[in-house]
């Protein structure tokens, strides 16, 4: 049983404690609370570095200190506080950094509302448990044999066929009917690889539709996209050893993952609004009358400073898009402004929650929109790597990981 230590403030009074425990139970984990004394809470300024007005945050910090002093108490940590609480946001981030710096225990940080359900937490918890449970599998660096991977995403379904550490076939289709799209993507990948389905030794599946698709095609590996994508990213970017940061701006949500030796150490997943996702760029391309594959090249010729755009909310983002075009702004400036705005949302909302260490690897279909990695480079002041097959990252990660199961 994987023990996840819960360091939190407000969950019991937001009515979501049972949801947290249900999510943990679903992924085969148990929530634990490290034992601390009253003196530990009263001395938290000396041990952790600060004490605050809210006692439950002091208790959370005291528990963090206890875990660092005795790492055997927990296999993973979740730090959770109320959304919109400034006091808690500061402490949540500091607890995450503290655990990260002083132990090897993976940490997940999350801010909740009363609407947070077990389902919202499930993928995050699953990833947390995977990093603990399948450390050996995640350490795998080479793909062996003939395997396939399917990434059943919210917008598109991707598939690859790999043989002896090389991608030999790819397939990419829009997600309509989940099962049909998965079959079509796999078929396309098999076709370009020139191999028959029967010859594939094992299939790994990830993405939103993973459970449905995985069951249907009898997949050997069904895994959430956080561990799979980070594995695929470091494999393709040749950064399997040492630190790396993976940024995946998806069609519906975004992921920022801090990776060490190919294994996620901390991550965030979310996005306030589709205004911070690939969906907004799709909309921009449509408005500009260019194909989504052309948007990036157009953006590279533009300057975002010439257009006032904020896509914090997709409705307001669209409004500024329409306004800027009505004001006669140049299409290339508008394209770059859209890329910059999406990058800015990810920078503000997600990259603040993980350790950004080089190399920074951008993956997913959106990374091919050249303006987006460029905007991210400008924001982070570091070079951003977009590996070959970046749009197939989940499928590559799944094909790689599933080959590890074949030997066992």
């Amino acid at each position: 049983m994987i023990r996840i230590a819960q360091l939190s403030c407000g969950s019991e009074y937001s009515g979501i404690q049972q949801e947290i425990e249900r999510a943990a139970q679903t992924v085969g984990a148990k929530i634990v609370y490290p034992e601390v004394s009253l003196d530990d809470i009263l001395n938290v300024e000396n041990t952790f570095g600060v004490s605050v007005a809210s006692g439950d945050l002091n208790l959370a910090m005291a528990r963090a200190v206890r875990i660092v002093q005795n790492p055997d108490l927990a296999d993973a940590v979740i730090v959770m506080t109320c959304f919109r609480c400034a006091e808690a946001a500061i402490i949540r981030s500091e607890i995450r950094k503290y655990i990260h710096q002083h132990s090897k225990i993976p940490v997940l940080s999350y801010s909740f509302t009363e609407r947070t359900t077990a389902e919202t937490l499930l993928t995050r918890m699953e990833a947390l448990v995977t990093t603990v449970k399948f450390r050996g599998l995640l350490a795998r660096e080479r793909q062996k044999g003939l395997t396939a991977g399917i990434d059943s995403g919210s917008t598109t379904t991707k598939s690859v066929v790999m043989r002896d550490n090389e991608v030999i076939g790819t397939g990419w289709v829009p997600t309509n009917e989940v099962l049909k799209s998965a079959e079509d993507a796999l078929e396309a990948a098999l076709k370009t690889a020139g191999v028959a389905k029967e010859d594939i030794s094992a299939i790994g599946v990830t993405g939103y539709g993973r459970f449905l698709v995985g069951k249907h095609i009898n997949a050997k590996l069904i895994q959430e996209e956080i561990t799979v994508n980070s594995k695929g990213a470091v494999f393709l970017a040749d950064a399997q050893k040492g630190p790396a940061t993976v940024i995946d701006i998806g069609g519906m949500d975004n992921k920022a993952i801090s990776v060490q030796d190919g294994i996620p150490g901390g991550f965030t997943m979310g996005g306030i609004c589709a205004g911070a996702s690939g969906r907004f760029l799709e909309l921009t391309a449509k408005r500009l009358g260019v194909d989504i594959t052309e948007l990036g090249k157009l953006a590279l010729k533009g300057d975002y400073r010439n257009v006032a755009m904020n896509s914090y909310c997709i409705v307001f983002g669209t409004q500024s898009l329409v306004n800027s075009l009505a004001l006669g702004c140049k299409p290339e400036d508008v394209a770059m402004a859209a890329c910059h705005s999406v990058a800015e949302q990810v920078y503000e909302q997600q990259l603040q929650e993980v350790e950004v260490k080089e190399p920074v690897i951008m993956v997913g279909g959106t990374s091919l929109i050249e303006g987006l990695p460029k905007a991210m480079e400008e924001l982070l002041h570091v070079k951003v790597r977009v590996p070959k097959y970046a749009q197939y990252i989940g499928a590559v990660g799944a094909a790689l990981l599933v080959s590890g199961l074949l030997e066992d």
Partner: protein
């Protein structure tokens, strides 16, 4: 309505949690009792609990304290044995207040005689601080 109360003894009281438990076992009330490190937790119908509390208080009027509790005793939602260890957050408040109980007990037993309270220290007058700085640094 079923209610749950903590019965907490001051550390200087001669009454032990087991004495309170024995008193309850020997009483006519249909009340469940659970001993803890700082006292007992009792659960029963409100009327029975209120009547019983009067009898329990009589064991040591100034040394026994009563507190309401939301959850029934041993409730799996709150029981640390079933919930991955760690005291429930409210426990620390009971612990902190328990440490003050001997003082409160003595105060209640003193029959209203109020002692002189030393005045709280005030910050040094800025003028005096200025003088000290001049004296020490000159």
């Amino acid at each position: 309505m079923l209610v749950t109360k903590y019965v907490i003894t001051s550390s200087e009281s001669n009454i032990l949690p087991s004495d309170i438990a024995m008193k309850i076992y020997g009483s006519k009330y249909d009340v469940t009792v659970k001993e803890t490190c700082f006292g007992v937790v009792i659960n029963g119908e409100e009327d029975a609990i209120n009547a019983l509390i009067k009898e329990i208080r009589a064991l040591d009027p100034a040394g026994i304290f009563i507190k309401d509790r939301g959850f029934p005793p041993g409730d799996p939602r709150r029981c640390r044995g079933r919930r991955g260890g760690g005291a429930r957050p409210g426990f620390y408040m009971i612990e902190a207040e328990s440490k003050m109980l001997p003082m409160i007990t003595r105060a209640m037993a003193s029959e209203g005689e109020v002692l002189a309270i030393a005045e709280k220290k005030k910050p040094l007058a800025i003028k005096r601080l200025e003088e000290i700085i001049h004296e020490d640094l000159s």
